[in-house]
């Protein structure tokens, strides 16, 4: 099959690799119809997430048709499913209390040691990500082996298009959980750092949860405009002093809750951010947490800090004093996707949540490398890229035409 593989920093390629097979009883094989490039794929692209190996198949936002099932799967051939990016057994202690991304049984036994050393515990397996989370082949491919297929995949009704439901795999529940972790009440002002797909869904979710006002922070005009269309007030941090603005926009109290939808590659001008960039480059693994640091200083006393943005290592100069002295609550985590899919699918069907507004590009899977390059380099315009394995590649057909011509010549 064709699949997008990682080979190093800014080096991803569409190659032919072995087709996946049913290995365990609860497995299913999905034929991918749509798959997206996620902001967290860009962290892999930039080489700042540890434990990647050349040849790894990326992609953790995907959906498709069930083409094969193991004896323990509850899926049926021909069903259309969206697959959560978290691989969860559904039966361990964590899964039974709906902490699906903490599943104890989906990260292979021999791959858990490194995470235990780094984090104290190993997390659930994830599709198309680091070997810290199992190194499972991902969904930017024609086919995917889906373990525990009786727990994760959501069967979707035929009248909903791929574009309407694909984001149930990650970014929609991630934005939703980001807002839920901010404990939003009706009089609250909530600030969201980052207007990428997760930030935009966090904005939409916070408003749906009844926030009085949501303020979105970014520096890409087009992304800020998308947030404004959803009903947020916006701050462009290239033009405005964010902390001062947030104090003034919240009547001098400070915002009630803050959501960091940026993660470990925050842009920033502070000296320590520059040092962190250098440390990341030399493999020291210092996460650049300038968005989170700013959010912690901006949130009101006794406020809530929610972190859906991805971090993987250590951060220097973390303002722990502000967390303690201001009495803040901090919540974070990879998304417990399976906890949210049913309720969010119902909201999509009822028209309460729109997922299609942020899609900027559809590309054939064969053009995935180009999709990565543009999503990375042109963030203002390339807000979300969907890859379709079945879509005709203009470049590929041109290449084939050329090949045919040279054969005839």
């Amino acid at each position: 099959m064709r699949a997008l593989t990682w080979h190093g920093t800014h080096d991803v390629r569409v190659e032919t690799v072995d087709d996946p097979e049913i290995i365990n009883p609860r497995d299913a094989i999905i034929k991918v119809t749509s798959t997206a490039i996620c902001g967290s794929d860009l962290h892999l692209y930039d080489g700042v997430i540890p434990a990647m190996r050349p040849g790894d198949v990326l992609g953790h936002e995907f959906m498709g048709e069930v083409v094969e099932t193991g004896p323990g799967s509850t899926l049926e051939k021909g069903q259309r499913v969206v697959v959560p990016f978290t691989i969860s057994c559904g039966r361990c202690f964590h899964c039974t209390i709906q902490q699906y991304s903490c599943c104890s049984n989906s990260n292979p036994a021999e791959k858990q040691d490194m995470s235990e050393m780094l984090y104290g515990h190993a997390m659930a397996g994830l599709f198309g990500y680091s070997h810290l989370t199992g190194g499972y082949s991902g969904g930017q491919a024609e086919y995917v082996r889906v373990p525990f297929s009786d727990i994760g995949p959501v069967v979707v009704p035929d009248h909903l298009e791929d574009d309407q439901v694909l984001f149930l795999s990650d970014i929609l529940p991630t934005g939703w959980m980001g807002a839920e972790n901010a404990d939003i009440g009706p009089d609250d002002t909530v600030a969201v750092w980052g207007c990428g797909p997760v930030g935009l869904f966090a904005v939409q979710s916070a408003l749906a949860m009844g926030a009085a006002r949501v303020i979105a922070i970014d520096h890409y005009p087009h992304r800020l405009e998308l947030a404004r269309k959803l009903g947020a007030k916006i701050i462009n941090f290239r033009q405005t002093d964010v902390r001062e603005a947030l104090m003034e926009m919240s009547g001098g109290i400070g915002v009630d809750a803050v959501i960091d939808a940026v993660g470990l590659e925050a842009h920033g001008f502070a000296i320590d951010n520059m040092l962190d960039i250098v440390k990341q480059k030399v493999g020291f693994g210092a996460d650049r947490a300038s968005a989170l640091k700013q959010a912690i200083l901006a949130v009101r006393k006794g406020g809530r800090v929610s972190v859906p943005g991805v971090y993987g290592g250590m951060s220097d100069k973390f303002p722990i004093g502000a967390v303690m002295e201001k009495g803040l609550q901090l919540r974070a985590g990879q998304t417990h996707v399976q906890k949210y899919t049913a309720q969010l699918l119902a909201k999509i069907e009822a028209g309460e949540i729109d997922t299609t507004f942020l899609i900027s590009h559809h590309l054939p899977l064969d053009d995935a490398a180009e999709g990565y390059r543009n999503f990375h380099d042109k963030q203002n315009e390339w807000t979300k890229v969907i890859l379709r394995p079945g879509m005709e590649s203009a470049r590929r057909s041109k290449e084939e035409e050329r090949a045919r011509e040279s054969e005839h010549a």
């Binding site: 690799v17 072995d18 087709d19 996946p20 097979e21 290995i23 365990n24 009883p25 609860r26 198949v57 323990g72 057994c89 559904g90 039966r91 361990c92 202690f93 039974t96 104890s104 049984n105 989906s106 990260n107 292979p108 036994a109 021999e110 791959k111 858990q112 040691d113 397996g125 199992g134 190194g135 499972y136 082949s137 082996r145 373990p147 525990f148």
Partner: protein, 217 residues
């Protein structure tokens, strides 16, 4: 390295949860002689503080969301052990209730070890020990106790071993020190997966690429 020694090293590496070398009932009478005086298990003492005489002790606990009796019964049927113990290739019944374990060695060499049950408390504890004259002396113990509330069963596996002396001994000991601990940890994780999820997680894409298939190849 003479062939016999080579096999010893390999078998020791292969033993994992089984443990290796003569330990003369250290597990049954295990008592800290010095070291941590708090409530933590002796095996968690800071390096150099705990002493078990000449023995090295490794151990690990895992909580499994299944009933105690079920876990005990599965483990007690030693023929099930190769399902989750990576380096135990097969266990077959021997004479007088004994078992013969075939353990993976290096470069395709396998070693047979005859074991007997040293102690058994149904639903609670199984200890086993190699019979005298076995090529390798081993001892292991696994305990099952109810976890708080609805959390299932706490399973604790402990290995003690006596690292051999000499230059070869040090090489072996190095392997002993690292491998049984790592292997025990992995084996217990696989046991938990098998009992809770009904299968052992693999991130392989094809059947040929699984860890098991690659070890057999």
């Amino acid at each position: 390295m003479p062939k016999h020694d080579n096999r010893l090293v390999g078998a020791a590496v292969g033993l994992g949860l089984v443990g290796a070398a003569a330990i003369g009932g250290i597990l049954a009478t295990r008592r800290k002689r010095r070291g941590n005086s708090d409530d933590a298990p002796g095996r968690t003492a800071r390096r150099g503080l705990a002493s078990f005489g000449k023995y090295e002790v490794v151990g690990r606990s895992v909580t499994i969301a299944r009933p105690r009796q079920e876990l005990f019964a599965f483990w007690r049927d030693f023929q099930n052990l190769p399902d989750f113990m990576e380096n135990v290739l097969a266990v077959r019944p021997g004479a007088d209730g004994r078992s013969i374990w075939t353990v993976r060695g290096p470069a395709g060499t396998d070693v047979d070890i005859e074991t007997r049950i040293a102690r058994e408390e149904p639903g609670r504890l199984i200890a086993w020990r190699s019979v005298e004259g076995s090529e390798i002396d081993t001892e292991g113990r696994v305990e099952f106790e109810d976890a708080p509330g609805e959390r299932g069963t706490r399973v604790t596996a402990i290995i003690a071993y006596d690292p051999p002396a000499g230059t070869l001994g040090r090489t072996v000991a190095k392997l002993f020190m690292r491998e049984p601990e790592v292997q025990a940890r992995h084996d217990l994780r696989r046991f938990k997966m098998l009992m809770e999820a009904g299968e052992i997680a693999t991130s392989a894409r094809t059947a040929d690429a699984t860890r098991h298939a690659r070890m057999e190849a």
